[in-house]
Amino acid sequence: MALADPIAAGIASGWNVTDAATLSGHTDLEADVVVIGTGAGGGTTAEILSGRGLKVIMVEEGRLYHQKDFNMDELKSYSNLYQEGMSRATKDGAIAVLQGRCVGGSTTVNWTSSFRTPDETLNYWSEQFGLEQLKPESMKFWFDNRMERHSMAPWQMPPNANNDVLRQGCDKLGWSWGVIPRNVKGCWNLGYCGVGCPTNAKQGALLTTVPGALENGAQLIHGLRADRLQWREDRIESLQASAFKADGYTPSGASVTLRAKHFVVAASAIGSPGLLLRSELPDPHERLGKRSFIHPVNATIARMPERVDPYYGAPQSIYSDQFNFANGVDGAVGFKMEVPPLHPAMAAGVLPGHGEQQATDMANLPRLQSVLALLRDGFHPDSPGGTVELREDGSPVLDYPMTDYLWNGVREAYLAMAELQFAAGAEAVKLAHMDARWHQSWKDTREEINRLPMALHKVRLFTAHQMGGCGMGSDPRTSVVDGNGLHHQIRNLSVHDASAFPTSIGANPQLSVYALSARQSTRLAEKLTA
């Protein structure tokens, strides 16, 4: 199956796919529903709505890349498949923001870890945001349903050496760990999920819901950016969009107006609140763009006595929730521990350095191992999240202030990760921190962690999980959309992506997005076809 490219075959069979680079002048289009964004949320929405006989148009700002383009080349992939050519960062530049920009969205480049939303999180939403309809008992059906759609199952092969360090460290310390479910079918265990799966094994939106929607007769226009929703009173009348040239980033000057009965925004966190802000939609309680979350990530690097080959093998297969809810859902910040893959450009980006030290560190890449911590932000008054704003040119940017509450979590996470790496047999450990040095003992590393400043531009922070900004809730004074994803003020507008989460998830979010989008889309289909 890896040798047949289902996207190429689908296009040949007559799918309605338009490369916006081929458009000129102005085009007018009409549909029952326009879906903006083709990632986890948008793909799911498009497939379900088109499956109910609705005429759907998918609008995607990134281009359609598929097997023929997935060459396991980091530089090309980062330039083509990621937002802002992999240079996206928070407003002050202190946190690197990894986010997809292509058909399939972040699911085309994600690491395939597939977790249900933790019960603690869903129960918190119910209590704090009036989202009783999303309690674990009601969501179970949707998680099961989406796990099947995306072929999600616990990884059957042994973990690669990089992940096995996490398992061994947990075992030694008596900490809990588990095997990660992955959304793959016939995976070759290569390790290139982050640059576009070359074998068609990854069951992200690109190979499941987007083709499903196209089979149902939906239209996909890629290389087309949603600029502005035109609205009057409580209805969206049209979407104004503009096309890029075939290079994917130069505006071509061509424009498209799309009219529809209903509009679903799924441009993800940062993108969706950005579009709504640009459209100057009613926002009487100034909620738009607020409470944006990122699971801030910090990491430690270990030098192991044996080869790890951290670039090969399923990138994530082991996790530890030892510290995720240890302080309750809303106490001191919890964190989930996982492992990142380390390909050379990625490793060099995480470990910025120069000269001899950098040369030595990088020359050791085959023996390097890394653990990361995902901080569970948004569950405490001292973690109110960031704010999406518009730059002068209308593009969205996330202002994310790190609070002392979060810095304490960063320090705790460094301590846990370094202790774990030494327990698993690391020769030496270095924090991903500008002032850090290699240390050969846990004691010295601990001493350094307690001494180093936890500060912006010192701690190397990144995020691959953007959430919130169009948060759900039953009260319009504290949320943007309701528990069914419908906008509180505009009747024919829904948000079906990670931006609708009222807090972070506390686990890698793709299954949360798939499941929530499937639930909201099924309800929306009933409403629109009634």
Binding site: A2, K68, Y78, S87, L190, H354, Q358, A455, L456, H457
Partner: protein, 197 residues
């Protein structure tokens, strides 16, 4: 927007603290054009490259910076000029895909680093053309260890652009011990049988 004179009046400290936002279109203003064709930096395989972002002044700076970041990694020192040229081309190609806003920030950083008075005050480098690798490395070390977040940020920008372009290039995989995509996989996958992307 600020011209050279008001920049000097505002004083370097103030400008830096205001950071990238206050400098508008940058010190060198509109006269800084991308370098375009640079036959002296072309690859040996004859494939042409047009610089779309880096100016001639930026290139002079990177001809000093790139070796300071990566030369110690090179096992064959005679490769340095070609590797430096390749890395500068890849840095340019990478930046072209950044957002307009990020490109503007980088433009401002590079302007500060190439415009005489600010360069001297911030980097203690008299001229990039004559800077020794040791001088350049010392400048990088000062920015890395500075107490000021903005200098750390500048350091991260320079080293990240350089390291990613350098280590991400297949010609340099061996230097990180990365064997590259597994040959058994590339032999079996259709997209590797012809040149694509």
């Amino acid at each position: 927007m600020m011209d050279r004179r008001s920049f000097l009046k505002a004083g370097l400290g103030g400008t830096l603290l205001l950071g990238t936002v206050s400098l508008g279109a940058g010190l060198s203003g509109c006269d800084a054009q991308p370098a375009g064709e640079r036959p002296d930096l072309a690859s040996s395989d004859g494939a042409g490259y047009r610089f779309g972002f880096l100016t001639d002044a930026d290139i002079v700076m990177f001809q000093a910076l790139v070796p300071a970041v990566i030369a110690p990694a090179l096992t064959q020192k005679e490769r340095l000029p070609a590797v430096t040229a390749q890395t500068i081309r890849d840095i340019d190609a990478g930046i072209l895909r950044f957002s307009t806003a990020t490109r503007k920030e980088i433009r401002q950083l590079f302007d500060l680093l190439t415009f005489g008075p600010s360069r001297l005050a911030m980097t203690r480098i008299w001229s990039w053309e004559n800077a020794s690798q040791a001088d350049t490395a010392a400048f990088l070390e000062r920015w890395r260890t500075s107490r000021f977040g903005l200098f750390n940020k500048g350091y991260i920008a320079i080293t990240k652009l350089t390291n990613v372009a350098f280590y991400g290039n297949a010609a340099n995989f061996a230097l990180s011990g990365y064997p590259g995509p597994p040959p058994w996989a590339t032999a079996a996958l259709p997209q590797f049988q012809t040149e694509t992307l």
